[in-house]
Amino acid sequence: MKKLKNKIENLGLNYKKEMIMFFIGFSLIVLLAIVSLMVLKNALSSLLAFFLLVVFTFVYFYRYSVMEDSKKTKNIDNFIEYFSYFRIYIFNGESVYSALEKTLEFSDYQIKGYVEGLISEINDDKTIAPFMRFSNFFNNKLIEEIMISIYEMIENGNDSNYINQFTSLFEDFKLRTNKENEAKRLGKFDKYTMSSLVGSGIIMIILVYGIINLIGTML
């Protein structure tokens, strides 16, 4: 329960509100089941209501995992977008600190907060710790490596070897993420194309039902 609460709060949602919404939905289905059972007096309707309850509960809580995934993907996309501009500034001879500051305007509001935190932290703490804390927001090993390479650029005064190391790591990460995102996008198309199977299924049901009825009337 505590894990769920943390999950909901990490998504920026109100735990109490979410639970109230769940119980309202749950109660409505139970109420519907009771009413239909009383009116129809049919065991099938209570079975249907039970099935609906299971589906509702699963969908309601599963969407938090979907939201968590999409938040993670969005965070990584924002990281790539922001550091693409950072890389342009670094290539143009800017220092890490000034490139971080100058590219702030290209950042999404969420990553902007993280970068502002990083800039203020590297003013006081000259160790690798602020960069590690920054990479923790994304929970990704490659981002951690990229942040280490940025720290090394500071340590070695924008030496071209370290710039190249950062660029190659970043390009590799960008390419991999782009491929993953593209596969996800195209996967969605395939899902919708498969919907034609649902169409075929419905046609079969319509046909079989019609033929059975027809045979029934003939007999």
């Binding site: 100058k102 919907s195 319509i206 019609g210 027809l214």
Partner: protein, 242 residues
């Protein structure tokens, strides 16, 4: 626009006609026809316009940045570069430039950031400013930007070709479903007429047509989603809300 309206009307009429052919139910036919027409006119048209806007602006932006950098690296003057490129501007860009005629050429180039609404262009204006006030070799300083814009262009082209093929595949698969219904009508003859007369039949076929419409709306929702290319461009409604 008129051409598109005609196409929407024709597609809706096609599905309405097919439904009528399969069920002989005029009321449900009108419902199906209206549902399809409503979808195309209200949802599809809006998404299509936004999609076209993103494609045209992104391509124009990339082409503008590349041409501008190459030309200015040769003649070193914003005015000469801007004037030599102006002949290749699109109608909407010409309209935008005409509306800011009171500005000088450098200000015009900077102002076009509001027109393109693209981070690549914002980065380009920063590099251009650096070039104007600090000098240096613009080809060197914009090397990464040109590389990034090429990647965006390639991703867009790649997505457009694959997504079109996927939508075609979707229609092909569904057309097989509808072909089954038509074949059923043609070959079952008298039996089909009897099934058709059953009360449930028009409603279940309508259900099939509506599921197809929903799947169509979902696939186009995915098809028109170009947020991976440009998150910046906002449609008119969002702009007003902001």
């Amino acid at each position: 626009m008129v051409k598109r309206l005609f196409i929407y009307f024709f597609i809706s009429l096609l599905f309405g006609g097919l439904f009528f052919y399969l069920t002989d139910n005029i009321i449900m036919t009108i419902v199906i026809f209206s549902a399809y027409l409503l979808y195309f006119l209200v949802i599809f048209e809006k998404k299509f316009r936004f999609y076209s806007l993103i494609i045209s602006k992104t391509k124009e932006c990339i082409s503008f940045i590349n041409n501008f950098i190459i030309t200015i690296s040769i003649n070193k003057s914003i005015t000469t570069t801007f004037n030599s490129l102006s002949s290749s501007f699109s109608d909407s860009l010409v309209e935008q430039v005409n509306s800011i005629n009171q500005l000088n050429d450098e200000e015009k180039v900077m102002y076009l950031d509001n027109y393109f609404e693209n981070h690549l262009y914002t980065a380009f204006t920063k590099i251009l400013k650096q070039f104007v006030y600090e000098g240096g070799n613009i080809l060197d300083s914009s090397h990464q930007l040109i590389f990034d814009s090429r990647i965006v262009d390639e991703n867009l082209e790649n997505y457009l070709s694959i997504s079109r093929a996927k939508v075609f595949q979707f229609y092909l698969m569904w057309s097989i479903c509808f072909a089954i219904m038509i074949i059923m009508h043609l070959f079952l003859g008298e039996y089909y007429t009897k099934i058709c007369a059953m009360e449930y039949f028009p409603y279940s076929v309508a259900c099939l047509f509506l599921i197809f419409l929903i799947c169509q709306a979902l696939i186009f929702n995915c098809f028109f989603n170009l947020s991976f290319v440009n998150k910046e461009i906002k449609n008119e409604k969002t702009k007003k809300q902001n």
